[in-house]
């Protein structure tokens, strides 16, 4: 049944205009494009599918769900430390930290009680503040359901990637909309496969990881990742 209030909440938190710094992260697109490995809308579609299937579904979503089901914020912090330990590339960890802390900062300013308490813990421990963990905290505060939080998490990743590709001149604005339609299909299929409760976070996106890891060595660099 269509619930306008829930749909409006999704539109707000899933909107690329939601101010959580997402526009500054390309999650590998900038690096792969610079190396000539991402040049067309078809490349972009495969890249988005890789992100969703081999990283978001098995890593970010698993961490988000663990944090969501945590009995208290200490358990959330334990999941956060697991995110830190499970992320190989330092640049990927740093990107996840920066994106997570940006979202947490907004959630705090919006008055989220869990976010306010968790911000104190994050300030005291540099390992904490990974994006999928913070998403669980922020969107619980926002009153979303787990299903809605997962959908927003996956969708904001997709819109961020398409937006970065558009700004880098890899695709045009209409191609971007076609990419979003394609990504909707992939995300829908991924969402239908619910991870096991005891799933361990993992990922296998070597090209993306290498592209992000090489970021700091590039002279020309517009994105944080």
């Amino acid at each position: 049944m269509f619930d306008p209030a829930a749909a409006l909440a999704l539109l707000q938190y899933g909107d690329s205009a939601f101010p959580a710094g997402g526009f500054a992260f390309s999650w590998g697109i900038e690096g792969l494009a610079a190396d000539g490995m991402l040049e067309t809308v078809e490349h972009l579609d495969r890249f988005i599918a890789d992100h969703l299937v081999h990283r978001w579904q098995t890593m970010d979503r698993v961490l988000l769900r663990r944090a969501w089901f945590s009995p208290d914020l200490e358990a959330v912090a334990a999941t956060d430390r697991l995110a830190e330990a499970s992320t190989l590339a330092a640049e990927m960890r740093e990107g996840s930290h920066r994106a997570g802390r940006a979202l947490l900062g907004v959630a705090v300013k919006l008055g989220g009680p869990l976010a306010i308490t968790y911000r104190q813990m994050v300030s005291a421990d540099p390992r904490l503040g990974h994006l999928p963990v913070v998403q669980a905290v922020a969107w619980r505060d926002a009153g979303l359901t787990l299903e809605a939080a997962e959908l927003v998490s996956g969708w904001t990743l997709v819109t961020g990637l398409v937006s970065a590709a558009t700004r880098l001149g890899i695709i045009g604005h209409i191609e971007g909309q076609r990419s979003l339609v394609n990504a909707r299909s992939v995300l829908s299929e991924v969402l239908a496969e619910v991870p096991d409760a005891d799933a361990v976070p993992s990922s296998f996106t070597p090209l993306i990881d290498i592209a992000v890891a090489r970021g700091p060595s590039r002279h020309v660099r517009m994105f944080a990742t």
Binding site: G21, F23, G105, T117, R140
Partner: protein, 216 residues
Amino acid sequence: MNQLSPTPTTGSKPIAAARVGIGGPVGSGKTAMVERLIPALLNRGIDIAVITNDLVTAEDAERVRRSGLIDPARVSAVEAGACPHTVIREDPTLNIEAADELERRFPGVELILLESGGDNLASTFSRDLTDFWMFVIDVAGGDDIPRKRGPGVIRSDLLVINKTDLAPHVGVNLERMHQEAKSVRSGRPVLLTNCRKGEGIEAVVDLIEREVLFRA
């Protein structure tokens, strides 16, 4: 997690540093302004830090870090994701986090300068990001810039016309440009600088001390 109650904070919260935005077109002299402001502010005993928003490289941040004017750890760079306006206006969260982080690492910091990436005349700083913002234009960019009345020219707390020394070389009537700038700003200040030689910088610092730090 539903039964959690927020942990109350104890003790007094330190006073947040004032945040001053510096925006303006590419090449107008924003980084040069920062390089002049750093020693001038330090000379007055003001504890500062700097954030740069480089567009395509970390060149401005590195330039300030290597200047020898300030502890490099007090200079942070924020990537603009090819959106120099967004990162200071619609979504300034990364800049806010960078400023918060500088305050955590340097608890006594009183003033944080935030240099925008090069932009056009339409940029503004979010009031959630800065307490005060200046817009830097230069005479070589054309004496018609004030007449174009972009938001930076009209709404900034301070408009700076830089590179005054170039006026005779680019056919600009500096006095007329100054008067036209003042005429579109409803009484808000307009100052003239030549950052290359440090001319006019003390007047900028006087204004920051008075209007931002509330010192006489």
